[in-house]
Every structure is written in C-alpha cells, then in structure tokens.
C-alpha cells in the first residue's frame, strides 16, 4: 500500500518522497512542502478533513484530497 500524508496518524511523522508537479500545486511547494522535508500531522478536523500539518516548521492545513497525492516514508 502507498503511504501518503493522508494516511498519517496524529503525532506520526514522515519524509516527503519525490512527486510530480502535475498533482501537487506549486503554491504548496512554495510553502515548504518539498521532497525530502519532514511532515507530521498536528490535528484532524471532523471527518478527517482537512488536515493540519507541520511541514518542515511551516504549519499548514490542506484538504485530504491533496494530501493523498503526496507520498511519504514513515519515520
């Protein structure tokens, strides 16, 4: 099974793998969501969407749909 940001549990951390620019908006990259960076899940809204993340020190909320396109490696 592919592990993505969407499959993170609260408090878990992962490292972002390489991804294709066609699925991840540039804006997200600019806010620090880059391959190699560490990501952890801070909080989930009800129905587990959106997700409140800490990516490399940047605190962002993104929707589950986007999160499920970014593969990670758990650490």
């Amino acid at each position: 099974m592919v592990i993505t940001i969407a499959s993170l549990k609260k408090g878990q951390r992962g490292i972002i793998k390489e991804f294709s620019i066609d699925v991840v908006p540039l804006k997200l990259l600019e806010m620090g969501c880059l391959p190699g960076n560490e990501v952890s899940l801070v909080q989930m809204a009800p129905f587990n969407d959106p997700l409140y993340l800490n990516i490399n020190g940047s605190h962002l909320a993104i929707r589950k749909e986007t999160a499920s396109k970014i593969e990670i490696e758990l650490i």
Binding site: I21, D22, P25, L26, K27, L28, L29, E30, M31, G32, L34, P35, V42, Q43, M44, A45, P46, F47, D49, P50, Y52, N56, G57, S58, H59, L60, A61, I62, R63, T66
Partner: protein, 699 residues
C-alpha cells in the same frame, strides 16, 4: 526640492506587514480598490524629516511571485511594469523571524528582478522566547542586501529601516541566485529571442501565463507567446526553480540562523489542542459567534437608540429654527434622517469589525477556516463565510463588509450574494406584527408558542435560503478561482491594539463615505416621492378639512387624516396604486403596495408607513395591529390580513431585497452595479413567486 520615494511593502501573509504599514503611516492611509478589480489597495505617506516624502504602497500578501489569485497577480503586474506610477524605487520585504525560511523565497525572487530590496525581519521581540539567534552581517552578505531587524509590536528598529529607505540608492541590485541555472539551455533560447531583456523577468511573464493568465499592464507584451516548451515542462521548471531557491535558502540559513529548540517554549500546540479539537473547537467557536451576535444585536442597540433620538431632535430643531418652506423640509425631513440612516449602522459595523480584527490578529480565524471548511465547502462557501452569515442575522451591511476576509473571489462573491437572505434585525418588526396578526396565539404540545415557532421558522427559512442559493450559485457561476486549498496556521499572538483600532476606523470610514453617498441619495429620492405629488396632493388640507368638517375632530386627528391623504396622493402613493394589480394576486391592496415601495429604504419602514396610511398617530405596535386587523379586503371582503395574505407577506419579506443600504454596500464591495442589480431582480422575483404561490394556495 523634497525627495520623493516610492516604497512597496511586500511579504508573505501573517508576517506583520499590516502592522509595519500602520507603524510607518499611522492614520495617514487611504484604502481603495485597484481599477476594475476588487483587490484592496492600501497606500499611505510618511515624512522623513523635511526633505524626504515617502509614498508607501502595501501590496497584498503573497507567498511568491507565481500568482494563483487576483491579489497576488496585482503584485506581479506592478513589479513587472516599470511604467506604473506606483512602481517602487525600493521594495521593503517584510519577513517573520520565526518563518524566515519560507519568507525568504519571495525575497530571492524580488532580488532577481533587480529591484533594490531591503529585508525587514519583523517580530524580533519573539527571538528571545524562541531562542533564535541571527548573524545579520553574514546574512546581509549572502543575500546582497541590507537588513533591518524590527519589531512592530515594540516599535524597535524603525529608525534604521527609515534610514535604509532614505538611502535606497546605495543598495545592491545584484540577484542573490541565478534562476537560469535550472535549465541553461532553455534560458539560452530565451536570451537569443529577446536579447535586451532581463531573463528572470521574461521567465516570470511566461510562467505567469501558465499559472494564472495573461498580464494586462505590462511592457513585455508578446513575450508570453514564446512557447518553446510544453506547459507541463514549464511547470516542472518552476518546481525546479522553487527547489533551487530553497536549497540556497537552507544553505544560507544554516550559517546564519540558530534556533535552540531546547529553550523554545511552545504555546501553539497547547492552544491548538483545545481550539481545533473536534468537540471543544466547535463549542468555543459557537460561543464566540454567540458573543458577536450578542454584540451587534444587543449591545449596539444602545448607541443606535441614541443616534436615532439625536437625529430626530436635530430634525425637530431644524424645523423649528429655520424659516418654514420646501428647503427647510428637505433638510429636516429628507437630508437629516437620511444621514441618520447612515450613522445608525456605525455601532454594528464597529462592533463586528472589532471582533473580526481581533480574531484575525490572534491567528484564530485560520482555525475557524480549518474547522468549518468541510461543511462550507459543499455549498461553494469558504470556512470564513460563517462569520458573515451569522453577522447577517443582525444586519447585512457589516456582514457583507466582513466578506473582505475571504481571499477566494468566487467564495467571497457567493457569500455576498446570499447573505441578504439571512433574517436581519430590520425584518423583525415586520415579522412580529404580521405574526401577531395572523398566527393564532396558541401553544403546541402545551409548551411552545406557535407564534414563537413561526418566528423561529422564519430564521431557519432565511438561513436555508442562503445556503441553498449558495449551492446553486456555486454550480452556476463560472468564475475561475483557485481550486485547491492551503491555509497557513499562524502562531497565536496577542492582538496589537493599534491594528485593531485602525481596522475599525477604516471600515467605518469606508462605509460612511463609500456606501453612505448612495444611501443618502436614495433616501432623499424616496422622501421627495413621499412628500410631493401631482394634482390633488397640494390641496390635501382643504379637501380633508371640508370632508371632516361635520365630524368635530380634534386638530390632531385632522392632521393625521391629512398626512394619510397626502401619502396616498404622493408619487409613492401613485406608485402604490399603480402596482396594485401586480400585488393583488399576492393578497395585498394598494396600501400595502405603498408600504412595500417605501420600505425599500429599510424594511422596518413598512410598519411606520402603514401607521401613516391608516392615520394612526403612534407607531405603538398594539394600535397599528388593531387597525390592521380591522382592515377589509376591498375585493373579497373579510379581513385584509388573514392567514393567506399574512403568510404571503411574511414570505415576501423573507426573500425580497428590500434594503437600499445593502445594495449600496454590495455595489461598493463588488465594485460594479452588476451584482446588486442582479440581487435585486432575482431576489424580488423569488419573493414575488413564493408569495404568490403561498397566497393562491392558502386562500
């Protein structure tokens, strides 16, 4: 001659850009719109001694020079257009010391454009708490710039920042990294095609076209058609550019920035655990909404009553002081109440923006978006739409102004368009009197008053109509807008009082001088139409005195009959008569017609107008109610206000856009007459059809 410097403030959102702007300009600021679009344009001036005048433009917050929204587009349009009168001599890039890494991305892009740039690192007061140390000289060297370490909270470093601005021509304009290395071959081709242009500028113009759309105001027209790479290749290059920039920033900061995490104290995670909690998060949010509601509904009633009575006595005083005549009447009955009708909104607007700016300042608003996104998204609304929709229950005017905080234009427009459906407090007097008249005063299940339930139903109906039309509009409106969702969750902070005060003052001013003009104009027109009329109107006194001569009425009663006669024969009265055929199928007569037309000024005028027509002197609810109950339907006989016509009237007021002030504010906020007119026609049409159906079905 005084030196004149154009400064542009640029920075990521939440870096304290607004606070820096407020520090530099104080209340010397002007908020307007960029021509043709609804992006807010904030500018101000500031004097450095006698010899140097600085014009400061506060650009919308942006994360990079790759625009994905109208706001960000404004920044790029300006920076790429040397001919723009606002083109900066120097850019001050504001960064947050706690988020330097992300903030520097934009800085490196601006440097690459060759614009002299100062880096203002803000929030320096937090460095100690967060155990952050910076090697400023080394950082200046790496970034080829001058750095001012400032704190807008503690007012530190601003003298040095001003000094840097004044001596901007000593700044280096060298780029700090070379973007063309991401694809030497592509940039070579670009250089050959446009030999005299700055490469990075060309690159921005081309990618801008891919990201967002063509630039309008640009000297480099035609460049965008230089398409030697596919769109997805260009996007890949942009990704590479971002990665390259971050690499550079990481290396730079590794040598210059040190954070001792062991010493850092963290308030954020503790607060977030409660404020974004699945249960407590909502409980607290609804508590806050309740408080806001209480403030605009209840607390503002006191200043509003005061304003009301002040303007009433002012009008009275004018009438008694100035020589009698048309001119005095215009001032006392047209202009003064018209002005009163504008000032009356100030308490509600001030309260709402007091709360909203505190919520924004503390960083809590982003949590609201996080909590509400899932629910609101379905209706094409933003998480932030909750605040305007709830505020709309008190008054649509401040509510619509509050939509400024919604960044996405489509979500914002939808919120503006649907907010007037929510049951505002001006509908309340109309609802109360009609409900008292046609809904039996009985209890359901022995406890709930049927009248109370009806009133509650009206509130639910308003809210439901808003949500449902939002859903439809989301499907209908074809507006390109950002389709994905990223929200930054800033650190929690204590609000800066200065920022809060400036927001409240600015919003109030914007309302008074923006929408106020339109409101005043329409209320004067309505007053003229109600106070003058053709033909018989001018002989009202004579006709009435003769008619009632035998009845021995008191002077006051005669006076009331005259007023009633005048209203009937005024221009508005004629309109009321003229539209009678149109409103009769809804169960109304011409008197209600007049009341509907005149209540376009404000819904609550409905009751007052009926009081005048029925010649009841007071606006006491009981008196008018009894008079209304006695009214006979001229065609069918029987009471005019029966269950069918009452329900029809309730529904009409629930849906109709009966408020010129709302139209005025929508015009101001959408920057065009298109949307308020659209609202007026669509909402009136819905109101008419629903009221018609209800009456015909129930009668």
């Amino acid at each position: 001659m005084a030196k004149h410097i154009n400064v542009a403030l640029i920075g990521n959102p939440n870096t304290g850009k607004t606070s820096v702007f407020n520090r530099l300009t104080g209340l010397n600021q002007k908020v307007g719109n960029y021509p043709g679009i609804t992006v807010e344009k904030k500018q101000g001036t500031c004097k450095f001694g006698r010899a140097c005048k600085v014009h400061i433009l506060d650009l919308p917050g942006t994360y990079s020079l790759n625009a994905s929204s109208l706001d960000e587009n404004v920044v790029i349009e300006l920076l790429l257009n040397k001919n723009d009168k606002d083109f900066p001599d120097v850019a001050v890039v504001v960064a947050d010391v706690e988020n330097l890494k992300r903030n520097l991305l934009l800085f490196t892009q601006i440097k690459d454009l060759g614009i002299p740039a100062i880096l203002a690192i803000n929030m320096s007061d937090r460095m100690k708490r967060k155990a952050i140390t910076l090697d400023i000289p080394l950082l200046e060297e790496k970034l080829q710039t001058k750095i001012a370490l400032i704190s807008s909270r503690k007012n530190l470093g601003f003298d040095y920042l001003k000094e840097l601005i004044e001596n901007y021509n000593q700044l280096s304009t060298k780029p700090c990294l070379n973007a063309s290395r991401i694809s030497p071959e592509y940039f070579d081709r670009l250089r050959k095609a446009f030999p005299n242009q700055d490469l990075y500028k060309l690159w921005l113009v081309i990618t801008q076209d891919v990201n967002f759309g063509k630039l309008d105001r640009n000297e480099l027209k035609g460049v965008a058609s230089f398409q030697t790479e596919s769109v997805s290749n260009l996007k890949r290059l942009q990704q590479k550019e971002t990665v390259a920039r971050y690499q550079f920033i990481n290396e730079t900061l590794k040598q210059t920035l040190h954070i001792d995490t062991a010493n850092a104290k963290d308030l954020r995670s503790r607060l977030d655990r409660i404020l974004t909690h699945k249960v407590w998060g909502y409980v607290i949010f609804f508590g806050i909404l309740l408080l806001i509601f209480q403030a605009i509904f209840d607390w503002s009633a006191y200043p509003m009553d005061f304003i009301d009575s002040t303007f009433a006595s002012l009008s009275e005083w004018t009438k008694n002081t100035l020589p009698a005549g048309d001119f005095t009447n215009l001032i006392a009955e047209g202009i003064i109440p018209g002005l009163g009708g504008i000032v009356i909104f100030i308490p509600q607007i001030a309260f709402l923006f007091l709360f909203i700016s505190i919520l924004e300042e503390t960083g809590y608003m982003s949590r609201v978006v996080f909590l509400m996104d899932r629910v609101m998204r379905r209706f094409g609304l933003s998480g932030k739409s909750v605040v305007p929709l709830v505020a709309g229950t008190a008054c649509a005017i401040p509510a619509i102004m509050a939509t400024r905080n919604i960044e996405n234009w489509k979500e914002r427009l939808i919120t503006i368009l649907v907010t007037p459906f929510t049951t505002c407090s001006a509908r309340l007097p109309v609802y109360l009197i009609i409900i008292a008249l046609v809904i039996p005063d009985t209890r359901v299940l022995g406890i709930f008053s049927l009248q109370g339930l009806t009133l509650m139903f009206m509130y639910i109906l308003g809210f439901g109509a808003a949500i449902f039309s939002a859903y439809l509009l989301d499907k209908i409106l074809k507006i390109r807008s950002k389709s994905f969702f990223v929200v930054e969750m800033p650190n929690y902070k204590l609000p800066l009082p200065k920022n809060v005060i400036i927001t409240v003052v600015e919003k109030t001013k914007a309302f008074v001088f923006g929408a106020g003009k339109i409101i005043l104009a329409i209320s004067i027109i309505l007053w003229v139409m109600a106070s003058y009329g053709p033909g018989n109107f001018n002989d009202a006194e004579e006709i009435i005195t003769n008619e009632y001569a035998s009845q021995n009425l008191s002077e006051e009663e005669i006076e009331m009959h005259i007023d009633s006669y005048k209203l009937e024969h005024s221009y508005i009265g004629r309109i009321g008569h003229a539209i009678e055929p149109a409103v009769r199928p809804l169960g109304y007569d011409w008197k209600i017609g007049i009341a509907i037309v005149s209540s376009f000024a404000a819904r609550e005028v409905f009751v007052g107008t009926l009081a005048t027509i029925y010649s009841v002197g007071s606006e006491e609810e009981e008196t008018i109610k009894n008079r209304m109950a006695a009214e006979i339907n001229p065609v069918l006989g029987g009471p005019l206000f029966n269950f069918a016509s009452g329900v029809s009237l309730l529904l009409f007021y629930a849906f109709a856009m009966q408020c010129m002030s709302t139209l005025a504010i929508v015009k101001k906020e959408t920057n065009s007459w298109k949307w308020p007119m659209w609202q007026l026609f669509v909402m009136s049409a819905i109101a008419y059809v629903v009221a018609l159906a209800a009456y015909q079905f129930l009668k």
